[in-house]
Symmetry: C2
């Protein structure tokens, strides 16, 4: 058995659906659908993973693709979980890790969702896909669509990172720029795909992107030696990664591969677009659309996430929290982490550093707790986050070096 | 025994040197020095690698770092070796692979040399390092130097990729821009470090960068199931990667882990800077400085490589060849590989595609031979290699989709 996928389930109304035909949102309540597996049938032992390649397909029993020949891969997965002792000391923590998702194809964690989402789409007969994106998902899905031989259209705000336009174009994706936000792009895509034969593969519009994202949770558990940290800090736009990590850890607990409580999940948003933080503070189960959304951490500029209720449920269930950080703070932390650890984080990743500092200061995180930060993409995508200070000298000039300290 | 390093050897005059103190070039003939290992003492079995983490340190017996606590890591290594069947068909080949070095920290293969070079430098007591660079090496060494707590100065041409300035700055490296070529920067660094306490860590100026680069060869052999391909096509500037792959495969043959002839190595240069190709065509053992060097494949703009004689020897010994490709050709291949395989190559990597096409056309490569191309960096570093064609629509606009083909 290559995949233990059994059916799809609506987390809102509990209806179940056939996972072996194309599905979008729940036909009765318009919620995203989640993939469910026949976990008791999985006979895989953890130790057997040693012999598998270091990519996310090593967990194929717990992924939705039915057969190995349907895998569309660019070598994604098993990103490093880096011990960052200098940063830990700066934040007042004993044990801090950064999982560096910048080392994935296309430079962001979006590659995980695209690899699994595109593989499954092709397996189910999809030939053309469209999505709204803040840039990185469009770049990733375009790359995997090209690899799969499928048609891809992405609609992204004109303010999305320039390089994601280039990535989309390089992969032959159809690119539409929207003079607005991802929510505007989303409305357009939804309207356009209706009855067209194109599939809407926007965030949580189909059930399999999250299955790719959840492999962050599998890897985290494996890399820690099959245990869970105390706290996971996650930059949250659409929130699929956060939901996915909780889903993955829950599946591993069900399999008996992990024990103990799930980590407390922390949802980090930017002060300029923090609908889930506002909802969490109000104890609400859903968020309200955020007006005039704006932040340099462009990947998390999502005014209203389709899966907000799942993110909030994950925070409440794990004893987690949600907080917003300012652009100035997170940009300072891009520089701090570069200097201390040599890691060039994306602004979304840097936001988790700022948030952690605040949570240590408030006492919500104890200094002895083990904390994992998710850096969701490469700083290479965001060239304007770091000021460059350099002297220029002529070709026949002289260089002087300071004394060695 | 963590490392089997035994001594350093001069490949030109055969003198040997102590590997456990800092060394630069050969004091008697100014050649780069190469690390040599006590291979008969290595009792490691290939199968034992399965239990090691998927990074380049899995080969630590064959690397120069003496103790695990001296490793400086950002999670580098075990980049994917991707089967590219559509591109193979387009080039008229049965079996073609691309090893994607873009998925390394800092976005290029330079991370391998930096990880091992910085680790060993710190182990030997170095506190401050300086180098000339075409950008990517400076970005990588700055990152690892920051991670190690060492001081780093990089001197790069003003034409080097903008993002590598940002990467250097993000890591807190000291950045000097040179209104000239890497050779100009190299002269300045050499002059400045003399007697300063700073170490010149330019290409092959110290013996350990190549030890990191050679892990491309180890991984290639392991990923192919401990066998060698027929041909390896490599974009060549300083040439350390090409020399390193041949060195690695030779070490594995000595260990008895591999059998058979080494792959025929192909050195690819840009038509605007092809000193090694010119030397190869003349049957020479060294290259002459290339005047007015210029190519979009900036990483290989090296007018005169210190290790040119080692590159040429590797080509002659393996029955390899050298050829140059034009910027127009390689840029067309960036787009081709994006469309066919979803991979956004760096221009240097795309040059290997152009070269392979020419070698198949000339009959130098047989269609049934197995060929490996090295993509030495991420396309993210080179945003100007792909034209972007997009329409912009207003936030309340309408999107129309073409019919599904």
């Amino acid at each position: 058995m290559f995949s233990a996928l059994s059916h799809l389930e609506c987390p809102r109304c509990a209806a179940t659906y056939d996972a072996f035909v194309r599905q979008g949102l729940c036909p009765s309540c318009a919620s995203p659908l989640l993939a469910r597996y026949d976990l008791p049938s999985v006979s895989l032992q953890r130790s057997a993973l040693d012999e598998r390649a270091p990519d996310l397909w090593r967990y194929h029993e717990l992924l939705p693709v039915s057969a190995p020949e349907n895998i569309v891969t660019l070598g994604e997965g098993m990103t490093p979980l880096l011990d960052v002792p200098r940063l830990a000391a700066a934040l007042g923590l004993d044990r801090l890790w950064i999982k560096d998702e910048g080392l994935l194809p296309t430079g962001s964690f979006k590659a995980r969702g695209a690899a699994v989402g595109v593989s499954r789409a092709r397996e189910l007969g999809v030939r053309a896909m469209a999505m709204p994106t803040n840039g990185n998902a469009g770049a990733a899905w375009s790359a995997y669509a090209a690899r799969a031989g499928l048609d891809m259209l992405v609609a992204m705000p004109v303010d999305a990172p320039m390089i994601t336009r280039v990535e989309t174009a390089a992969a032959g994706g159809r690119l539409v720029l929207v003079d607005g936000l991802i929510s505007d792009a989303g409305r357009m895509v939804s309207a356009a795909v209706a009855g067209s034969g194109w599939s809407d593969v926007g965030t949580l519009k189909e059930p399999y992107r999250i299955e790719g994202k959840k492999t962050m949770g599998f890897e985290l558990a494996e890399q820690l030696g099959w245990r869970m940290p105390d706290v996971v800090v996650y930059p949250t736009g659409g929130g699929v990664g956060l939901i996915g990590i909780v889903k993955a850890l829950g599946e591993l607990v069900s399999l008996g591969w992990l024990a103990g409580p799930l980590p407390r999940m922390v949802c980090v948003q930017a002060a300029g677009c923090a609908p889930i933080v506002r909802a969490f503070d109000a104890g609400a189960s859903e968020s309200q659309p955020w007006a005039d959304a704006r932040t340099v951490a462009f990947g998390i500029t999502v005014p209203k996430a389709l899966g907000d209720f799942l993110v909030l449920a994950a925070l409440y269930e794990t004893g987690g929290t949600a907080l917003a950080v300012t652009d100035d703070e997170l940009l300072a932390d891009v520089a701090l982490v570069g200097r201390l650890e040599g890691l060039f984080l994306c602004p979304e990743g840097a936001a988790t550093v700022t948030a952690t500092r605040a949570l240590v200061a408030s006492g919500w995180i104890d200094p002895h707790e083990e904390v994992v930060l998710l850096n969701t993409g490469s700083g290479l995508i965001y060239p304007d986050t770091v000021p460059v200070d350099a002297v220029t000298i002529p070709a026949d000039g002289r260089l002087t070096l300071p004394a060695v300290s």
